[in-house]
């Protein structure tokens, strides 16, 4: 089963290596890992999508906790959450077929962010299913280049993955 972990880490040099190294040496499978700053200056947040049964997840979580730079881990899989990925797709787009592409972009509420002589760059955000669907729809036009972020995710409503004292959700 796939799990989504929201992990708060100290924004120290090497913290990504520590986390990534842990996964590789213990043989855990990362589906995706994103990392970026948070509302606090010294704290970064990773969203890690990891494949494994409950036993594996328990070990992943415990081993992550052993890293001194890891502050907090939430497995949000079984909670209500919002998750998003972003994709940039460069498709072949001769003027004659642009209309068709624009329709697809419209349907997925994606955006065109660059127009070249023979290409378009399309930006789309959404959950994994939507991103997969937009990619599938654009394939027939010839995808020249594609880049997608991993997943970022956040709990809905009054639950938090943050270290602010008052709102902590354990």
């Amino acid at each position: 089963m796939r799990h989504i972990l929201a992990v708060l880490v100290e924004n120290n040099p090497g913290v990504l290596t520590r986390v990534a190294g842990l996964f590789s040496r213990r043989g855990y499978n990362i589906d995706s890992l994103t990392v970026g700053r948070t509302e606090s200056l010294n704290i970064s947040r990773m969203t890690i999508v990891v494949e494994g049964d409950d036993l594996v997840l328990e070990q992943v979580t415990k081993q992550l906790h052993k890293l001194i730079d890891v502050i907090k881990i939430n497995d949000i899989t079984s909670e209500q959450y919002v998750d998003r990925e972003l994709v940039l797709i460069k498709v072949g787009a001769d003027p004659v077929i642009r209309g068709e592409i624009l329709q697809i972009v419209d349907i997925f509420r994606a955006r065109i962010v660059d127009i070249g002589r023979r290409t378009l760059i399309i930006e789309c955000t959404g959950d994994e299913g939507k991103i997969n669907a937009v990619i599938e729809s654009l394939k027939p036009f010839g995808i020249k280049e594609l880049v997608r972020t991993g997943k970022v995710a956040m709990l809905r409503g009054q639950k938090f993955t943050s270290i602010s004292e008052t709102k902590e959700d354990e």
Binding site: V9, E10, P13, G14, T17, R18, G21, R25, L55, E58, Q59, K62, Q63, H65, K66, L67, I68, D69, V70, I71, K72, I163
Partner: protein, 553 residues
């Protein structure tokens, strides 16, 4: 007055109560050695940086205090790696300080540059690269805190040369604040009550004690638990000394070369109380058949150890000393029954034994070492047959008297670790029980022992073989002794060349007199015991087998 980074390191070490450090100078650690020159800190110059790491480790295991080793950048730092990994696998608190090229040369493949924080990432509990002298004191404080609390382990601090030279105001922090590091010391009360109840109902309990009992200083509490519940106690290699092996409830070591009594007891038990142990494959053998009739209580400070290898019925995360104290307070005195009789019967029927055939037996030598030291020496081992015989045939009664590389199995550990142990415990007799293979991996440290007159005794069980590997070849590879016959120098002459005392013993009757002479010499001594060449370590669980199905012994 501002201090240089080098002076700050010295002051910080002194603030931490460090008395002895083991190291080797070099270009990028020169400012530190310059500051050391005028300080009162005692430094031991080893002959290879690996020796420094093992000496710090031996010091830590013997004293319970963190050991400190120092090396220069690049090759100095990489030479520490095996020693750091050894300490990591056995959860030993050591602090490794390494010089590094100046900050502006980092990442440029500079002379003697190695990414030592990168290299040691998987074998340290944590490590630091100090970029700014202002962070130095705090990082040293954090390093000692991390190394010695929770589940102990090695911490490395990499210090660029310019950071050692730059100056700042020195104030050693009183507290550390690490958001991501808060070990759990107090065990969950509810869980402890459940455990007490389960122990109360058990008919065939066994205590399985590991190195965590020793690092937690919980031997007394363990002893009390065993006596209250009349549970037999088996220890891992790392747990040796946590429970007196002379006690009627002692089963000795379990696992691959454990006693039959220990392995039978675990296999038939209805409750296994695992205390500070981690269900290593050398202990469990075939995991599906390990303690297969037993419920398992697991007490450990490291939550990641719980459920890692076997399913646990009652996990208790916390400091063993604290958890056992509470657990004991909930226990009533049990009475002896069938189980205790069964244990006594197994012990009676299946003692460790070897055949005496007139030749000099390695097991006999270990027994003689036990006799002459009255079981009070600190025994350090190398790795292989020597290590197993030292574990089996010496009866340990106190924690921190058996020092051995258990997890990593590092040949060459013994001599430098013995030096570290003797520095930490100058009043104890310290004996390195060695093989003729292992001793050659760090024999250069004899020079260190002689230089500082650290009177360690090296007892080589010399069979001109890499004995344990040869034993496996005999048993599992059709006696094809591929590259396991090994020659050594004339160890007696070698010892003398180093300035140590060298002796050779070939007959059983000469063993004790030689040991007596060695202990009285008050100088480093090496005794080369010529032993039966193809003696095997028994009993033995074949790799991957169930632990109650043992060969020999």
């Amino acid at each position: 007055m501002p201090l240089s980074g080098a002076e700050i390191i010295i002051k910080s070490l002194q603030e931490e109560g460090v008395e002895a450090i083991f190291g080797y100078p070099g270009g990028q650690i020169l400012p530190f050695y310059d500051a050391l020159y005028s300080s009162s800190l005692k430094h031991y110059l080893v002959r290879h940086e690996q020796g420094a790491a093992h000496a710090a480790d031996g010091y830590a295991r013997a004293t319970g205090k963190p050991g400190v080793c120092v090396a220069t950048s690049g090759p100095g730092a990489t030479n520490l790696v095996t020693g750091i990994a050894t300490a990591y696998m056995d959860s030993i608190p050591i602090i490794a300080l390494t010089g590094q090229v100046p900050c502006e040369l980092l990442g440029k493949d500079s002379f003697q540059e190695a990414d030592i924080t990168g290299i040691t990432l998987p074998i340290t509990k944590h490590n630091f690269l100090v970029n700014d002298v202002k962070d130095l004191a705090r990082m040293i404080k954090e390093a000692f805190h991390i190394a010695t609390t929770g589940r102990p382990g090695p911490v490395l601090i990499d210090i660029p040369k310019d950071v050692q030279v730059n100056k700042t105001k020195f104030r050693y922090p009183e507290n550390v604040s690490l958001k991501g590091y808060k070990p759990t010391f107090e065990g969950n009360k509810g869980q402890i009550s459940l455990a007490a109840k389960m122990i109360g109902q058990a008919k065939k309990p066994v205590i399985y004690a590991g190195g965590g009992v020793i690092s937690s200083g919980a031997s007394k509490e363990l002893f009390r638990l065993a006596e209250l519940t009349l549970s037999p106690v088996t220890t891992t290699l790392m747990g040796i000394g946590a429970f007196p092996e002379t006690h009627p409830l002692s089963l000795g070591m379990l696992g691959m070369h454990g006693t039959r009594a220990a392995n039978y007891a675990v296999s038939q038990s209805d409750l296994l109380i695992a205390v500070g142990a981690r269900f290593d494959d050398r202990v469990t053998g075939k995991i599906a058949e390990f303690a297969s009739h037993a419920k398992i209580i697991h007490i450990d400070i490291d939550p990641a150890e719980i459920g890692k290898n076997v399913r646990i019925d009652i996990p208790i995360v916390g400091d063993i000393k604290k958890v056992l104290a509470i657990l004991n307070s909930k226990m009533e005195q049990h009475l002896a029954g069938d189980w205790q009789h069964k244990i006594a019967e197994w012990k009676e029927k299946h003692p460790l034994f070897y055949e005496s055939n007139g030749s000099l037996k390695p097991q006999f030598i270990v027994e003689q070492i036990h006799d002459i030291t009255k079981g009070k020496a600190i025994i350090v081992t190398e790795v292989g047959q020597n290590q197993m015989w030292a574990a089996q045939y010496y009866k340990y009664t106190k924690p921190r008297t058996f020092l051995s590389s258990g997890g990593l199995g590092t040949m060459g550990y013994g001599l430098p670790a013995a030096i570290g142990a003797k520095v930490g415990c100058p009043d104890s007799v310290v004996i390195d029980i060695a093989g003729d293979g292992s001793i050659q991996m760090n024999i250069q440290e004899l020079a260190t022992a002689v230089h500082y007159n650290i009177p360690v005794i090296v007892a080589i069980l010399n069979n001109n073989f890499l004995g344990m590997v040869r034993q496996w070849q005999e048993l599992f590879f059709d006696r094809r002794y591929s590259h396991t016959e090994i020659t050594g120098p004339d160890f007696v002459k070698l010892a003398e060349a180093y300035g140590a005392v060298g002796m050779r013993v070939e007959k059983a009757k000469d063993v004790k007199p030689a040991l007596k002479k060695a202990i009285e010499a008050k100088r480093p001594v090496l005794i080369d015991f010529t032993v039966e060449r193809e003696e095997n370590v028994f009993p033995m669980v074949p790799p991957g087998g169930a632990i109650h199905k043992m060969l020999g012994g």
